[in-house]
């Protein structure tokens, strides 16, 4: 009898705990989604509707706002998205290819500076990029590379964090025998890397491509210091421009639409690939 009582008590206890946990989860879900929900709602309302008061439901001006934002004279958002896209996709390709190449060089070959090279990359991994900004800006001014995409793309060849991820991944999927047997078959070293190693690394490369694309798409600090010509600006710079413009004169529906356009490409990719992306978060950071 007493035993029954106790198990009954434990059952109720567990039930209460479950309710509490789900309540916390629902609250956090609400917190994560509510601001984006309001963004979408407000991007469908005209300036007058927005001034008139709060609404929890969409109104019919989405297309009109989209048209206004897309053709705005001072903030050329399609151009900004194109610029951001060019920079971000170039970064994604360079970062993943060269990080994999570097990781492969250090993983497979034996050479004198192998260990120092590895330790050096690990040591600089945590240094924030802002620390070298002053010199970088000056150097780019001297080389007349301001208002040019190259200074935003080329540095992505050296990405210590991506390198580390690739190295970790290689250790778990790339046995030395594969490389050696390809050599016996007479394949050159670059061909082995491009045609045998890269396909094996595909999942890691895909994950890192997404992450570096997103990082570059969202990057604001350095681009804002280097790009000031209207036709060279990237999306985050335009968003900042929106913030410093005279606020009261703005069509707010258009402002919400600009914000939505800035985050939409990443949001769509995420909604399609979320399972894959979330798996990728841990693969490099936590081994085994």
């Amino acid at each position: 009898m007493k035993n029954n009582d106790q198990s009954e008590k434990a059952r109720i206890h567990l039930l209460m705990l479950r309710i509490l946990v789900y309540a916390i989860l629902l609250f956090l879900t609400f917190l994560c989604l509510v601001f984006f929900y309001m963004l979408i709602i407000n991007s469908s309302r005209s300036n007058a509707q927005l001034q008139a008061g709060f609404s929890a439901l969409p109104q019919g001006n989405f297309i009109k706002n989209l048209k206004n934002a897309w053709t705005d004279a001072s903030i050329n958002i399609p151009r900004g998205m194109l610029n951001s896209f060019i920079i971000a996709s170039s970064c994604a390709i360079l970062t993943t290819y060269f990080s994999a190449l570097t990781a492969y060089g250090i993983h497979i070959y034996d050479f004198k500076l192998k260990k120092p090279a590895f330790l050096f990359i690990m040591a600089v991994m945590m240094i924030p990029p802002q620390v070298s900004a002053v010199g970088f800006i000056q150097l780019m001014m001297k080389l007349k590379l301001t208002n040019n995409f190259l200074p935003l793309i080329v540095p992505s060849i050296a990405a210590p964090v991506v390198f580390f991820y690739m190295k970790q991944y290689m250790e778990s999927v790339l046995p030395y025998e594969i490389v050696e047997s390809a050599r016996i078959d007479g394949a050159g070293e670059f061909r082995i890397f491009n045609q045998i190693v890269l396909p094996i690394m595909k999942p890691a490369i895909a994950v890192q491509m997404i992450f570096s694309f997103v990082q570059s798409w969202n990057n604001y600090f350095i681009p804002a210091l280097l790009l000031d010509k209207a036709e060279m600006k990237t999306v985050p710079i335009m968003i900042a421009q929106l913030r410093s413009a005279d606020y009261s004169k703005f069509d707010m529906g258009k402002v919400y639409m600009f914000i939505l356009l800035a985050i939409l490409p990443v949001l769509i990719v995420y909604l399609i690939l979320s399972r894959f992306i979330i798996k990728g978060v841990t693969a490099g950071a936590v081994k085994g």
Partner: protein, 320 residues
């Protein structure tokens, strides 16, 4: 690496050359785009070099004068850089403490067999999403939502909770709360996923043993989960710290770069950015960068030693 592999590698000395060829692009790019600029930054910190209106002052060698200026009080008696470091630390703590506590709780919830939470994929997808959102756009969104004429104020006024619109962006505490809330939302999902992976890496038999011994779930958490999670937790905290000292996009956009009210939400990198944009004061910007470098180098050293300790010990954790 097995012995056999080592022998194989030794047999082909031409390999050494390829090792160098493969790592050259990385190092060339790093030296040109980061190392040289970094040295130039340090060098700059020793020069007076700025623009005053249309006239260029310097560059003129001044020794450590920029650093002296950086750490001496201004007209109102505050030492700028210390104030901004203080702001950065406060803003970071306000976001990072709830971030780590909530992430820890969620990680325990999600990995608990007893609770058996349904819809995990959905929750994970939702909580990770803000991490990928453009920080500047997210901040602009908060600015519009919380502006005096924004929907939040409309809602408060409509419900009669306030008599007149609250100027959230001109009140010290609300600006700080908004910045930390954004940082929290952007990072707690990421931390949850990392900690979950950490907990899943712990041998299940340890939890079973604790249960057989009659440990409560609180005891299991503090005596089994937490100690074994320590390495990952340290890693998480320190990477969060390094992210924290770089805090820029969110407060910069929200406060239009001025850290209002009265520079109480101005971070160190915003301060650096101010020197770079408005006055083109490369000397002072260099000095701020040097201070920033020293602090992040010290933090990296801590990560490095804690990580190397972690790598020496993993066998012990798994054997029990």
């Amino acid at each position: 690496m097995s012995k056999e592999e080592k022998v194989l590698k030794k047999k082909s000395p031409r390999n050494a050359k390829w090792g160098y060829i493969f790592i050259i692009p990385f190092f060339a790019a790093y030296i040109c785009c980061t190392l040289i600029p970094q040295l130039m930054t340090f060098y700059n910190s020793l020069f007076m070099n700025y623009r005053d209106g249309l006239t260029q002052v310097g560059p003129k060698f001044v020794g450590l004068q920029n650093f002296v200026k950086l750490f001496s009080p201004d007209n109102s008696g505050t030492i700028g850089i210390l104030k901004y470091f203080g702001n950065t630390i406060i803003l970071w703590l306000m976001g990072a403490i709830p971030q780590i506590v909530v992430a820890m709780l969620l990680a325990v919830f999600f990995t608990s067999y007893r609770l058996n939470i349904k819809g995990q994929q959905f929750f994970k997808t939702v909580i990770y999403m803000p991490n990928l959102i453009m920080a500047s756009a997210f901040s602009m969104l908060f600015f519009t939502l919380f502006s005096p004429v924004g929907p939040v104020n409309q809602l408060l006024l409509g419900a009669g909770w306030v008599d007149k619109a609250v100027d959230f962006l001109n009140i010290k505490i609300s600006v700080r709360v908004l910045i930390s809330l954004m940082n929290f939302l952007m990072w707690f999902g990421n931390t949850t996923i990392l900690l979950m992976a950490g907990i899943q890496g712990i041998d299940q038999s340890l939890f079973d043993a604790a249960m057989v011994d009659g440990a409560s779930s609180t005891q299991t958490f503090f005596r089994v989960t937490l100690p074994l999670l320590r390495p990952i937790l340290i890693y998480t905290v320190i990477t969060a710290m390094i992210g924290g000292i770089q805090m820029f996009d969110v407060p910069q956009i929200l406060t239009k770069g001025i850290g209002m009210p009265n520079r109480t939400s101005m971070t160190v990198v915003m301060y650096l950015n101010n020197y770079l944009t408005t006055s083109k004061n490369y000397g002072m910007a260099g000095a701020v960068s040097v201070v920033l470098f020293i602090i992040s180098a010290a933090l990296s050293l801590v990560v490095y030693s804690s990580l190397s300790r972690q790598y020496k010990k993993p066998a012990r954790h798994r054997k029990y």
